[in-house]
Amino acid sequence: MAIDQSPIVVVDHLSTTFRTPRGPLKAVNDVSLTLERGSSLGIVGESGSGKTVLSRSIIGLLPTQNVTQTGTATINGSEIIGTRHKDLLKIWGSEVAMVFQDPMTALTPTRRVGQQIAESLRINLNLSRKDANLRAIELLRQVGIPSPERRARAYPNQLSGGMRQRVMIAIAIACGPEFLVADEPTTGLDVTVQAQVLDLITDLRAKSNLTMILVTHDLGVVATRTDNVAVMYAGRIVEQAPTAALFARVAMPYTKGLLDSTPRIDAPSHTRLSSIEGRPPDLVNPPEGCAFAPRCTYATDECRTVRPELVRSTLDANHLFACHHPLNGHQAASSLTENQ
């Protein structure tokens, strides 16, 4: 395979709106991003920030009823938004795959896990039943499940949470996708198992140059497992940068607030946490101006009336933020939209 330098995922002005009884709810609001081949992007944010909806929008994994989408999202050049389910089936599994948060509900409870892995092999790669079963066992071994021959015959309820998540990963990588979306893959797992599962994903990515979106609420996971981070708030990306740069020099007060309210094991006991007062806005009636302004200590009248665009920083062209009063000496260089 020739080395392809073009980005694998390009998202341009993507918005996803749900129709709700209370009115339209813009869960993803004008998001643009690109993913280079082999890179990993962490999407962080609190519940309801739109991180899951964004990741699902990108791979076309949203219901079609009561959902309107504008903008574009392409994977390997093929458009996802507006593509029919039938055509998406050709991409799912072979080009993109997803690891869900809750492996108990994502796996079929009444089928043996080996069969569930073999299913996508038979559909996507046209393997015979026997070959698919052998390959399934091989995949279980690859994801670090002991005695895979026996485990392949187990039902999901007979496996522990960590094992089930390994099975999910085996299904995801079965058909050799280039792009993996992992939505909170370790939430609900114990720390030691979380470390094992994340190590596994890191190894697999290194072996097959997988591109990954890792959706999580855990800043610690993002800090250690991703190349780039996008912070979401109220459906928009409010800050985006290479991971090291973001943590070294936070621009957006919301990101700083998240970091400061996270308890750390390397901080002394009883360290007072600084919390962000208030709650995220109601997305059916979003505030004018910056969505974070009502909770922001730096907010001015400008913040409450004019919505800040995502702009590049003068300090680092890869560091983007959407804020009128950025921290740590960041200044707006130019609007991204003007560049394009």
């Binding site: 610690g220 943590f247 308890p263």
Partner: protein, 325 residues
């Protein structure tokens, strides 16, 4: 912090009977001193919640003793225990489901007072309003609403108000901030530490999140498969863990700082089933330092440094820990 408010001695809780018996808690002993917060950490299924529930006699204690303020709780009749329970309150993980969905907030918070027939309607409603204000809920706006109208963080505040209105001495907090977003989690942790000082509370804080436990606790106990591995002052325990399991837990925890990097001491495998626990030290099947003695002899908790106990035949005294560097 002079006398223990609560002493737990060789506590055993067994689920099921005979062949299917599972010792969820297999001989746990610790003390909590007045005004102190003891953190109890461990992975799912290690018995930390069962320990908390057994202290309040919400689980049947198979053997061992629980002494609260000089009184043995395990031998009390259910009726007698009921009267003691107002001094021992519990906070749960899911605040929304632990509030009655069909009752107004002010009734939920007033219920302990009504049960204990304290005061008249007016003094109760005054106390309820004051309690709600203390937890940061406006009683005039919220009092007549129902739990479903509140977010998880607000419901947790209401749960705290309900538990404090009876003027308890010991709060058992079972994963009470686990389901909350970090910004809300920080609000609740701060609120709890303020209220603890104000109401002179003693806390047993049960959680799986090592960072949260360190933040709120004066001392921390680490539990594995029904037993305590280690117990010590928070900062000392996190800086110099003595038990290999504690060290492994700490190295698996991630810090929101890419410069700290990852530790490579992650544990292999998963905890064995408590139905058939390993002989001797329960951690030996996953322990990098296990030797023959670990399979034969159950290690007892012993004090190695002042106030710092460990249940291990080969504690990690001399080994420097990654987190220190």
């Amino acid at each position: 912090m002079t006398k223990p408010l609560l002493s737990v001695n060789n506590l055993v809780v067994t689920y099921g009977a005979r062949k299917h018996a599972v010792q969820a808690v297999a001989g746990v002993s610790f003390e909590i001193f007045e005004g102190e917060t003891l953190g109890l950490v461990g992975e799912s299924g290690c018995g930390k919640s069962t320990t908390g529930r057994a202290i309040l006699q919400l689980e049947k204690v198979t053997s061992g003793s629980v002494t609260f303020d000089g009184e043995e709780l395990t031998s009390l009749t259910p009726g007698e225990m009921r009267t003691r329970r107002r001094k021992l309150q519990m906070l749960f993980q899911d605040p929304i489901s632990s509030l009655n969905p069909r009752r107004k907030i002010k009734h939920i918070v007033a219920e302990p007072l009504i049960i204990w027939k304290e005061g008249d309607d007016e003094s109760r409603s005054q106390l309820v309003d004051q309690m709600l204000l203390e937890v940061g809920i406006d009683p005039h706006l919220a009092g007549d609403r129902y739990p479903r109208e509140f977010s998880g963080g607000q419901c947790q505040r209401i749960s705290i108000a309900r538990s404090l209105v009876a003027n308890p001495r010991l709060l058992v907090c079972d994963e009470m901030v686990s389901a909350l977003d970090v910004s809300v989690q920080a609000q609740i942790i701060n609120l709890l530490s303020d209220l603890k000082v104000k109401h002179n509370l003693t806390l047993l804080f049960i959680a799986h999140d090592l960072a949260v436990v360190k933040n709120v606790s004066d001392r921390v106990a680490v539990m594995y498969l029904g037993r305590l591995c280690e117990l010590g002052p928070s900062d000392d325990l996190y800086a110099h863990p003595l038990h290999p399991y504690t060290a492994a837990l700490l190295s698996a925890a991630v810090v929101p700082d890419p410069t700290v990097g990852l530790s490579h001491h992650t544990l292999e495998g998963e905890p064995p089933s408590p139905i058939n626990p390993p002989s001797g030290c329960r951690f030996r099947t996953r322990c990098p330092n296990a030797e023959a003695r670990c399979a034969e002899e159950v290690p007892e908790l012993r004090e190695i440094r002042p106030g710092h106990q460990v249940a291990c035949h080969f504690p990690l005294e001399a080994v420097p820990v990654a987190i220190q560097s």
